[in-house]
Symmetry: C2
Subunit: 168 residues, 2 copies
Amino acid sequence: MAEQGSGPVVRTVLQQCLRARLQVKPAEENQEAQFVQIDRGMVVYICFFKGATEHILPKLVSTLLNLRLCESTSGPVVSVSELPGSLLLVPQATLGGRARGRTMQYHSNISKEDGLRLYAAFVSLCEQQLLAAAARTGVQVSVQHGTYGNRQVLQLDTNGPYTHLMEF
Amino acid sequence: MAEQGSGPVVRTVLQQCLRARLQVKPAEENQEAQFVQIDRGMVVYICFFKGATEHILPKLVSTLLNLRLCESTSGPVVSVSELPGSLLLVPQATLGGRARGRTMQYHSNISKEDGLRLYAAFVSLCEQQLLAAAARTGVQVSVQHGTYGNRQVLQLDTNGPYTHLMEF
């Protein structure tokens, strides 16, 4: 989906899950760690590159929510909106890495400030669109997400992750 | 790492894990499902494209085993060979998908016969090289792998997957 002649501005890795659980706040003195969790649905690992702007978000979210990536109980492959399933969004700057010798470099990644802003808008658009689609089915789903810039402590339980790469 | 002017012939997605468990044989009548498991180490999802041959394997395996992708307890990032950690190899044909409209197509993927042969050689080379590297440290590690062409029922427990994409 990346435009011809230029590199992608967003890289995503998509995995199907039966259940996924992500730490959103590490344990502190006198306070246990906090987690978010989804059941059946899709985990989206996302990394923004330099040059990414808000303009990419409608196409990005529409594609992720409407691509037929999920097994349905009735047989055909359907989108996460059609399933309907939940979403777990995981900011993953490491996806922007390029090997130089034995070391990974992340020079193409967006700045932390711009990335945080885009990530927040991405989460918000996913919430709007998935919840609107699911409302039509009457099934309860949710959009959960990790905290930008933090360690993403993740537990994943799948019936086959069906890992896909999508670049924009 | 892909050669200039031509697309990649191998796509891998790499995730760090504390523990990962993969079904290698589904349950049958009178027989429970069979699983393989690793503790601390790296999960390698791999997809071969048309045009991939055995020639790519030494560079592929050497890169995966020696890239510095793993947190060490002492601080610096080290390779899975240096950690040393275990490997779970997961054949993942879905990684070769390209979106056409809302549907994923897998026309660039290698044929099943060639893929099976390359995958077996890949597993074997990972075993040789990781076990040789780990023998020097005296630490017990293992190389586990999924069954080519089967559903990859996976459970993953991470302290941060640090997802990387590497193409060759």
